[in-house]
Amino acid sequence: METQIILLLFVLVLSIFLGFELISKVPSLLHTPLMSGANAISGITLVGALLASGSGFSSQPLTVLLGTAAVAFATINVVGGYLVTNRMLGMFKKKKTE
């Protein structure tokens, strides 16, 4: 267990540095789509929610109920977040040079 946690901390630190590198290259023009897109990514917690929601109602009713609520909220985030980002990015157009 301890080794696993240490390994995950390692992943965490590297990901944060990678995130800083990636995001600092995003122009301010795209900051709003970046936020809504990042929002959709934070819906990854859906993975944890699915595991809780599918653990079997008869044996763990409470876990399943909390998990299902989490699935609903996270799915709003994922579906809504990606769709609205897509919609916004579709509006960014460059004028054709005459």
Binding site: L12, M35, G43, T75, L89, K94
Partner: protein, 469 residues
């Protein structure tokens, strides 16, 4: 046999998680240019789809009924929200979605805690952090949503003893955390009570954290809450020991932090100053002196038109006032007419203009303004003296020359768009009222400034009408 089946599934699942993480990273990388951004979003969303589908193979999922219920509810709400929402309501929507991410992580953490198998202190710390960050994100985002949609008052709300209340709250949270992690039973041994207590405190903290922050500081708050929603997912990743949650959560956390930092820099303020001082609510007595600095020169539509018609380079500087007046479509029309008239038209956008990072860019993009004419202050300031006319629409503090010239001004040092250096500056404004920061703007009194009073949308529409003859 059974063992090897499990082994294989877990290998497939984890390899797919690595692939999903790569797709998230690649998707964010593609966001660095407007030409590839849309593809980036698709790449990122396929990573998500992959991660979700492969999770369904996990052997601990024995019943899909409730998953289907949850996904159907969430997907339909998410779909309709994304399709129906007006682009002008985007700041509220982003705030609300941040909150949903937070509460989802809180629920995941709670579910893991209450099923009671986690006795390891490290996991309990992770659960505590998930619930705490998730709860703060949720209630904080709801307040931010309320302020942005003007359901609740947007003014900064300060009260006496704020610091004491906050410290007390943090102390209680620490105590509740120790109770959860070490299970000493100092307060209660009931898991429900401990969890409920922590949730309550986290919600309260989120509310108290956003309530004192005023409307114009919202870009900072939204960016910070965005970061929190990622960190909550990250903490949840430690609860269920899942690498893809940690990678994705950390990317979002880093993204939000960078945006927060950019917003603070653009206001020349520290994060602590934004969060705790309720700028604008506290009257700075040091600036009383700039009462009158000259004469205000109003101008009418006909004269404005004459000057614009003769201009060969025009810079439009939009601010939150343009969003309030819903003037973006009229502004785009005016821009096109000016271009047809032979002028070069650009839009200078300050990073903190509006209510969230990139707010003005999205509004103008929606109004069909080409993104290559949207420029940043540092691109346009060096060539400001070559610009014939600046049209300031609903912006105030971001064009205040005091930020450069008056060391006693509270906004001294903040990077601005130096419209006062242009040959002529038109300021479209309802009245002589001060901006959000509550400071007088000497720009209005400069000899090359003309004030065009009235509703921004009406003024711009009248100018459009003049051009059309």
């Amino acid at each position: 046999m059974i063992f090897s089946d499990q082994f294989n599934t877990s290998v497939v699942v984890n390899l797919t998680y690595i692939l999903a993480s790569m797709l998230f990273i690649f998707g964010l990388k593609l966001l660095s240019s407007p030409e590839t951004a849309k593809r980036g979003n698709l790449v990122s969303s396929s990573g998500m789809l992959l991660a979700v589908l492969v999770t369904l193979l996990d052997q601990s999922i024995i019943d899909f009924t409730w998953i289907i219920v949850g996904v159907c509810i969430g997907a339909s709400i998410g779909y309709f929200a994304a399709i129906k929402i007006k682009i002008t309501a985007m700041p509220e929507m982003v705030a609300l979605f941040n909150g949903f991410g937070g509460i989802a992580s809180l629920l995941v953490g709670s579910a893991e805690y209450l099923n009671g198998v986690n006795q390891n202190p490290a996991l309990l710390i992770a659960i505590y952090l998930t619930v705490l960050i998730g709860g703060v994100t949720f209630s904080g985002s709801l307040i931010a949503w309320g302020k942005l949609s003007e359901t609740i008052r947007g003014n900064p709300f300060l009260y006496k003893g704020q610091q004491i209340v906050n410290s007390l709250l943090l102390g209680l949270l620490l105590f509740a955390g120790l109770e959860m992690i070490y299970m000493q039973g100092m307060f209660t041994e009931n898991q429900f009570q401990i969890l409920g207590f922590i949730c309550l405190l986290a919600f309260l903290l989120g509310v108290l954290f956003v309530v004192p922050i005023g409307g114009a500081d919202m870009p900072v708050v939204i960016a910070l809450l965005n970061s929190f929603s990622g960190l909550a997912a990250c903490a949840a990743g430690f609860v269920i020991l899942n690498n893809v949650l940690i990678v994705a959560g950390a990317l979002v956390g880093a993204s939000g932090l960078i945006l927060t930092n950019i917003m603070c820099k653009a206001m020349n303020r520290s994060l602590a100053n934004v969060l705790f001082s309720g700028f604008g609510a506290v009257k700075d007595t040091g600036v009383e002196r700039n009462e009158v600095q000259g004469e205000v020169r109003p101008i009418n539509i006909a004269d404005t038109y004459l000057i614009l018609e003769a201009a060969t380079s025009v810079l439009i500087v939009p601010g939150y006032g343009m969003a309030v007046a819903q003037a973006q479509h009229s502004v785009r029309e005016l821009g096109e007419l000016l271009e047809a008239n032979g002028a070069e038209v650009k839009y200078a956008i300050h990073p903190v203009a509006g209510r969230m990072p990139g707010h003005m860019n999205v509004l103008l993009a929606e109004a069909n303004v080409s993104y290559d004419v949207l420029v940043e202050p540092e691109d346009v300031n060096p060539i400001m003296d070559t610009i014939d006319v600046c049209i300031v629409i609903g912006a105030n503090d971001v064009v205040n020359p005091d930020a450069k010239e008056n060391e006693r001004s509270p906004i001294y040092g903040m990077p601005i768009i130096e419209v006062d250096k242009a040959k002529t500056a038109f300021v479209l404004k309802r009245s002589m009222a001060t901006g959000f920061a509550g400071i007088k703007n000497p720009l209005f009194f400069k000899s090359n400034t003309r004030m065009l009073f009235g509703d921004a949308k009406e003024s711009v529409s009248s100018l459009v009408a003049e051009f059309k003859g």
